[in-house]
């Protein structure tokens, strides 16, 4: 296996979230400062009486039409969202060159939980829902997306909880650097499910109002759903006109602390950020903006804030969590926030951390409250911290023009 110092460029991106369908709608809502979190309309759950979420606006039937899929037999909501974002991401991609080794790496936490929770009793007792049975397997949505887009090369799926998509993006970049692939569709997809909603509710970390990341009085997270994909390509195959930015660094670490909680000292988060910065060859002071994981949970935000403080000391760059816009989309959050981080580079914007009012007692770290548009943004760090202490940071950089 040959390691080459091969730059990795982002040449396409696509997204669907509670903020809207497509990059432009998402950007507009981020600039307006309007959250996509609201009442739960599509998911049938008793909790819709008491909780809100970042649900994608469209029903499954509408998504089938929007995705353009011909054979929707047994399809899951996560796969439908995935196809829509993947199509947008690849709209300028030329798949016809057989010499370009193309793969897909996706991250998902809940995969087709929406099908399983609806049909499990049928799976066990009758033949009425047999077409949904195979969608139970992790890897299902990746294979559906690959088939729809005609990607026949390397395929895999990562499930490291909330850092799944960030890890998928990192793995794709590493495979390009190892000269194993030239182009990879990387990202993640997750749909809102009763299992996840009840799971986080049972852990008592869901805020019934829109979350307040990094606020002293934060009460927890909101769940969301959505998908984002990036097309990343090697220097060799990326066409100048398609290059959006460089994926300049990435790093992963593990807290080795608890199956769900993050280590309270923030060391794991700091290690992931440091690894990403080291990989890029940049300095800590080069970072202009951090799109934080910032779920709004007691544990995450303190741990992440301490991690940020460890890495940046007194010179903390602008940072914010965009979770109050989208909710926590779990396995896909790393991809959705990668798109937001890239938009920050493209538009020279720092997106606001909605709802922040009071600084935490434990740490002197304050996120940006307002949209900032007066600064040149050259390097953006995007954090994803998962269940089981799986931490990943991605670093996106403007390319020199």
């Amino acid at each position: 296996m040959k390691t080459e110092k091969n730059k990795v460029f982002v040449t396409g991106m696509g997204i669907i979230s509670s903020l809207g369908i497509g990059v432009q709608q998402n950007l507009d809502r981020l600039i307006e400062g309007k959250s996509g979190i609201g009442s739960i309309r599509h998911l049938k759950t008793r909790l819709s009486d008491e909780l809100i979420a970042g649900e994608v606006f469209y029903s499954n039937q509408e998504l089938i039409i929007l995705s353009g899929i011909k054979d929707a037999k047994g399809i899951s909501r996560a796969a439908l969202l995935g196809i829509i974002a993947a199509r947008e991401a690849t709209k300028n991609t030329d798949f016809n060159d057989p010499n370009v080794r193309t793969g897909i790496i996706s991250g998902t936490t809940a995969e087709s939980m929406t099908n399983i929770e609806l049909y499990l009793q049928d799976f066990l007792n009758n033949d009425s829902r047999n077409e949904y049975i195979e969608s139970q397997d992790w890897g299902y949505s990746t294979e559906v997306i690959a088939k729809e887009l005609g990607i026949s090369g390397y395929q895999t799926t990562i499930n490291t909880a909330c850092s799944s998509a960030a890890n998928a993006i990192m793995t794709g970049a590493r495979m390009i650097k190892h000269n194993m692939l030239d182009r990879v569709l990387v990202g993640g997809t997750d749909a809102l499910s009763k299992v996840m909603l009840n799971g986080f509710h049972a852990l008592m970390i869901v805020d019934p109002q829109i979350s307040k990341p990094f606020d002293k009085n934060r009460k927890g997270l909101n769940l969301g759903e959505g998908t984002a994909f990036l097309v990343i390509e090697s220097e060799k195959v990326a066409e100048e006109k398609n290059i959006i930015c460089e994926l300049s660094g990435y790093g992963n670490s593990n807290d080795a602390y608890h199956l769900t909680a993050l280590s309270p000292d923030g060391k794991g988060a700091a290690m992931a950020m440091n690894n990403a910065i080291d990989e890029s060859g940049l300095k800590v002071t080069d970072i202009d903006y951090i799109n934080a994981h910032g779920t709004g949970s007691e544990n995450n935000d303190l741990s992440e804030a301490l991690g940020i403080e460890k890495v940046f000391g007194k010179n903390i760059p602008e940072f914010s969590s965009t979770k109050p816009f989208t909710g926590h989309t779990l396995g896909s959050s790393g991809a959705i926030e990668a798109v937001f981080s890239i938009l920050s580079l493209q538009e020279n914007l720092v997106f606001p951390n909605l709802n922040f009012k009071n600084r935490m007692d434990e740490v002197d770290v304050i996120p940006e409250n307002d949209l900032i548009s007066s600064q040149e943004i050259n390097h953006v760090l995007s954090n994803s911290l998962g269940f089981g202490g799986n931490n990943t940071s991605l670093l996106f950089s403007k390319t020199e023009s």
Partner: protein, 354 residues
């Protein structure tokens, strides 16, 4: 070069901590083969033993024994492949959501329902705070973890990788996939899996771990030269081409293979893919089969990796896997070829290191 410097395999056969190589083979009269589990009290504190789900126990016992075999307490990095992950706990949690009508649900099964928990559990037990990854993609799960492990070792940032394939079969998964014909009907005997010529296979599970470094030690079993996956091939010619290209990328031809390990699982809908190759490019190559021992599961190729390591290390082919009965020659190069429902195809090349 990637060397296997420690291994462990928990399977439906007595493969775990066993001095013998595939002796005392178990015959099962069910289509759901489950692991012969070790005494977990050697691996967990009594409190943890009660709380922790079965797949996490399988995962940690496999990982710990592999580290013991390598003579090490903490690996540098951890990569796990698991097709079904912690799905059983997801079902337990979902049932409790339904039964309690979404009110007052105990969260513990949810805590252990994330697939990444298997690798996280190993990190917690060993204090390994570095790179930690979980691949969950049907029959590419273990292969993806191995490919990642090989990248990690060539990047040079870390010294070693603990890589494993872990899967659990449980009643709900079995019944569900049995409904769509994945398993044989009626029940069969695992040891006559290849003589029945009927549709479906038998379900299995396992936890196989490998300790990988980029230098040999006195413990070295074999070296892994290359791993390659491909999806949905358009017919037999493409499969043959994939295999030949894979070998030539490693400066080998089919004639250099001393052994091929196809993933035959007794399912007449798919075994023809292997059988056609046995009549074409592998006509002259020695073969061994193994899924009658461990059953079919998403990471069953990890069992084949263990098998390859043991055969190369001991230069023995146990009778229970030898269906060709060709005279044994020195085994230097083994090709593991697995396909799952003609969608996920994988090739792994294992060679003697000395």
């Amino acid at each position: 070069m990637i060397y296997i410097n420690g291994l462990a395999n928990i399977s439906p056969q007595p493969t775990f901590n066993n001095k013998e190589f595939l002796a005392d083979i178990r015959q099962y009269k069910t289509n759901m083969l489950q692991c012969i589990e070790p005494d977990y009290s050697h691996f967990f504190h009594p409190n943890a033993l009660r709380r922790i789900g079965r797949v996490l126990k399988l995962g940690w016992a496999g990982a710990k024994s592999c580290l013991d075999d390598a003579g090490l307490q903490t690996p540098d990095t951890i990569c796990v492949g698991t097709g079904k992950g912690c799905f059983k706990n997801t079902h337990v949690f979902l049932n409790s959501v339904i039964e309690n009508d979404e009110k007052f649900i105990p969260p513990s099964p949810f805590i252990q329902s994330a697939h990444g928990s298997i690798a996280s559990q190993i990190a917690i037990q060993t204090g390994c705070k570095n790179y930690n990854m979980t691949y969950s993609h049907r029959a590419f799960s273990f292969e993806s973890a191995l490919i990642d492990a090989m990248m990690l070792l060539s990047e040079g940032k870390y010294k070693n990788v603990l890589v494993g394939g872990v899967d659990e079969i449980e009643e709900i998964q079995f019944r569900t996939f049995d409904r769509i014909g994945h398993y044989k009907n009626p029940e069969t005997n695992n040891l006559s899996l290849f003589t029945e010529k009927s549709k479906g296979t038998i379900a299995g599970e396992g936890s196989a771990f490998f300790f990988l470094e980029n230098h040999p030690t006195e413990k070295t079993y074999a070296r892994i030269r290359s791993v390659h996956t491909f999806s949905n091939p358009k017919g037999q010619i493409e499969i043959e081409k994939q295999i030949e290209t894979f070998l030539s990328n490693n400066s080998l031809s089919v004639n250099d293979l001393d052994l091929v390990i196809p993933g035959l699982n007794g399912d007449s809908d798919f075994d023809w893919i292997y059988n056609d190759l046995m009549k074409s490019i592998f006509l002259e190559t020695n073969q061994v089969y193994y899924k009658h021992l461990c059953g079919e599961y998403h990471t069953s190729s990890a069992f084949a990796m263990w098998l390859s390591s043991m055969i190369i290390h001991r230069q023995v082919i146990p009778e229970i896997i030898d269906f060709n009965k060709k005279p044994l020659r020195e085994v230097r190069n083994i090709l593991i070829y697995n396909q799952y429902r003609n969608v996920n195809h994988s090739l792994m090349l294992v060679s003697r290191h000395n």
